[in-house]
C-alpha cells in the first residue's frame, strides 16, 4: 500500500486552477523529486498535503486514511512534516528550542532532548544549538527547517526548495544530510529547481505543469521525455 496516495485532487483560487485532478502515489521508503516551472502548483500541493490549505475536491490518503479534512497539527502528529522554501524559524527562540517545539509529542523528559539533539545532529546544526534562530545565515536556516521537520518524527518529509540559494559546497552538505534522513527510513518528497541536486538522490521524478501531472517515472526516462524538455528548454514538441 502506498504511504501517500493523492486521488483526483483539485484546488482553485478563484478562477485560477492550481491543482487540476491530480493523482499520484508515494510508496513507503521512496524519495521522490517534484519538478515543474514556477506557478505549476508544487508548493500548493505541499500546502494541501500538510493541510495549511484545504482542497476543493479529491482525496489525500495517508497510510490508508483520508486526511483531506484533518487539521494541520493532527496531520503533523500522524507523520506528515514539511519544510518551507523561505525558512520560518521562531526567531526569538534558540535553535535548540525551535527543534524542541517539534520534539514535544509522545515523548517524555530526557527522551525528547535526546531526540531534538539527534535531529540537530543529522541536520548538522549541533554546534549552533544555543544561537538565536533569528541570527542564523541562510544555510543554517535551511538546516533548521529540516531539523525542525525531523524532530516531529515524520514518516513523510516534504522538502520545499531546500537547496535553493545555496552554494555548490553547501548544497553538497545538505544532500548528505538528506541521504542520512532517507536511510533512516523517512519517505521524502522533494520540490527542487536545482535539478542536479534532485537527480543525485531522487528515485522517481514527478513533473507538474499548470496543476497537472505531465510525467511520472524513473528520473532518466522523465528527463528524456519530450514534454519535459519542451517545458524546461522551450523545445518545440514537433521537432
Amino acid at each position: 500500500m502506498a504511504l501517500l496516495s493523492i486521488k483526483n485532487l483539485c484546488k482553485r483560487f478563484g478562477a485560477l486552477v492550481v491543482t487540476d485532478d491530480l493523482s499520484f502515489d508515494v510508496n513507503e521508503g521512496e524519495i521522490i523529486g517534484i519538478l515543474g516551472p514556477n506557478g505549476a502548483g508544487k508548493t500548493t500541493l505541499f500546502n494541501l498535503i500538510a493541510g495549511t490549505i484545504r482542497s476543493d475536491a479529491g482525496e489525500i490518503l495517508f497510510n490508508g486514511t483520508n486526511v483531506a479534512g484533518t487539521g494541520v497539527a493532527e496531520r503533523c502528529r500522524l507523520g506528515i512534516s514539511r519544510s518551507f522554501q523561505v525558512p520560518h524559524p521562531f526567531a526569538g527562540m534558540s535553535v535548540f528550542e525551535n527543534v524542541l517545539v517539534g520534539a514535544t509529542f509522545g515523548r517524555s523528559g530526557d527522551d525528547r532532548f535526546e531526540y531534538a539533539l539527534r535531529a540537530l545532529d543529522v541536520a548538522g546544526l549541533k554546534q549552533k544549538a544555543n544561537l538565536l534562530a533569528g541570527s542564523l545565515p541562510l544555510l543554517d536556516r535551511k538546516r533548521l527547517e529540516m531539523a525542525r521537520a525531523l524532530a516531529t518524527e515524520p514518516r513523510l518529509l516534504l522538502l520545499d526548495e531546500i537547496a535553493g540559494g545555496l552554494t555548490e559546497r553547501e548544497c553538497h552538505e545538505l544532500l548528505s544530510a538528506i541521504r542520512d534522513v532517507h536511510s533512516a527510513g523517512v519517505t521524502i518528497v522533494w520540490i527542487e529547481h536545482v535539478v542536479h541536486a534532485l537527480l543525485s538522490v531522487a528515485e522517481r521524478l514527478v513533473v507538474m505543469n499548470f496543476g497537472r501531472l505531465i510525467a511520472d517515472g524513473k528520473p532518466d526516462d522523465v528527463m528524456k521525455s519530450r514534454e519535459v524538455k519542451s517545458i524546461y528548454l522551450g523545445e518545440d514538441v514537433n521537432v
Binding site: 521562531f90 528550542e97 509529542f105
Partner: protein, 288 residues
C-alpha cells in the same frame, strides 16, 4: 516622612496593579487579543471568592485554592468555545466580543449580587502592620500583595522560558502557522494561555477584594490601571509590567500626598508622560 511613607505604600499598591496587568500582558503576548473584559473578569473572580467564602467560611486567601481552578477552567472554556472563533487577521472581532463580554459580566453580576459594594474579610492581617522606621508602617496585606505579585511574575517568567507549555506559548506567538506544522494545536495552546491568565486574574481579584470594597462596575477602571502598567513597563516584558505597576502606584501615592483628589489624576499623568517620552514603554522586549 509622610512623603517617604506615601512612596513606600505606593510601591506596595503597585504590586496589586501589576497583578491586574500581568494577565492582560500574557494574553496580548500570546494571541494578540486586547481583552476588554479583563477588569470585569477580576471583579467576577472577586464575587466568586465572595460566594465561596459565604458558603464555606474559608479565609479569602485559602479560598484561592478553589477560585483559581474554577477560574482557569472557565478561562479555558471561554477561549476554546468563544474567543478562538474571533481570532484572525482582523483585530476588531476580539475587541468587540470582549467588549460584549464585559457588559454581560457586569450586568450578570448586578443581577445576581445587586449593586451593593462588598468586601472580603481577611481578619487581622487586613489591618495589621509592623513599623519599618519611624512614621513608616508596612501593612501585612499590602506587603503580601506585593510579594505575591513578585512570585506571580517570577512564576510566569519561569513557565514562559523554562517549560514546554511556555515554549508552545512563544512558538504560537512567534509564528502561528509554523507552530501548527510542528504539531501544536494552536487553539488548545490559546486555551491554556487563557486558563493561566485567569489563574492570575483570580489572585488579583481576591487581593483586590480584601484590600478595598468592590461592586459590579469596578472592572473597567481596573482594566485601565492594568493597561497603564503594561504600557509603562513595555509590551511583552513581565518584569517591566511589575515596574509599571509600581510606577503607577507611586505616582498615585504622590498625587494623594499633594491633594487626596489628585490620586488618580497623578497616575494617569505619569502614564501620559511616559507614553509621550517613550511610547514603547520603559523595558520593551526586543525589537520586532
Amino acid at each position: 516622612m509622610d512623603w517617604v511613607n506615601g512612596i513606600v505604600q505606593g510601591v506596595l499598591v503597585g504590586g496589586l496593579f501589576a497583578l491586574f496587568a500581568t494577565g492582560l500582558s500574557l494574553i496580548f503576548g500570546v494571541m494578540r487579543i486586547v481583552n476588554i473584559a479583563h477588569g470585569d473578569m477580576i471583579i467576577a473572580c472577586a464575587y466568586l471568592a465572595f460566594t465561596i467564602i459565604q458558603l464555606s467560611g474559608l479565609h479569602p486567601l485559602v479560598s484561592l485554592l478553589i477560585v483559581i481552578p474554577i477560574a482557569s477552567l472557565v478561562g479555558y472554556l471561554l477561549q476554546t468555545a468563544i474567543l478562538n472563533r474571533t481570532l484572525g487577521k482582523d483585530i476588531l472581532p476580539p475587541l468587540l466580543v470582549t467588549f460584549g463580554l464585559s457588559i454581560i459580566v457586569q450586568n450578570g453580576l448586578l443581577e445576581v449580587y445587586s449593586a451593593d459594594s462588598r468586601r472580603l474579610a481577611a481578619g487581622p492581617i487586613e489591618t495589621g502592620s509592623f513599623p519599618l522606621a519611624r512614621g513608616i508602617d508596612i501593612g501585612y496585606l499590602p506587603l503580601l500583595t506585593f510579594l505575591t505579585a513578585v512570585v506571580v511574575v517570577a512564576g510566569l517568567q519561569f513557565v514562559f522560558y523554562r517549560t514546554e507549555i511556555g515554549r508552545s506559548f512563544r512558538a504560537v506567538s512567534d509564528d502561528p502557522e509554523t507552530s501548527q506544522l510542528m504539531g501544536l494545536d494552536n487553539r488548545k495552546v490559546y486555551g491554556l494561555a487563557m486558563a493561566l491568565c485567569l489563574a492570575v486574574v483570580a489572585i488579583a481579584g481576591v487581593f483586590l477584594a480584601t484590600r478595598s470594597n468592590f461592586d459590579p462596575f469596578m472592572g473597567p477602571s481596573r482594566l485601565i490601571f492594568g493597561f497603564e502598567a503594561v504600557i509603562i513597563g513595555g509590551l511583552g516584558n513581565l518584569w517591566g509590567t511589575l515596574v509599571g505597576g509600581v510606577i503607577l502606584g507611586v505616582a498615585q501615592a504622590i498625587g494623594a500626598q499633594i491633594d487626596p483628589g489628585w490620586q488618580l489624576l497623578a497616575g494617569h499623568i505619569a502614564f501620559l508622560v511616559i507614553l509621550a517620552i517613550r511610547p514603547e514603554g520603559l523595558f520593551p522586549r526586543g525589537a520586532r
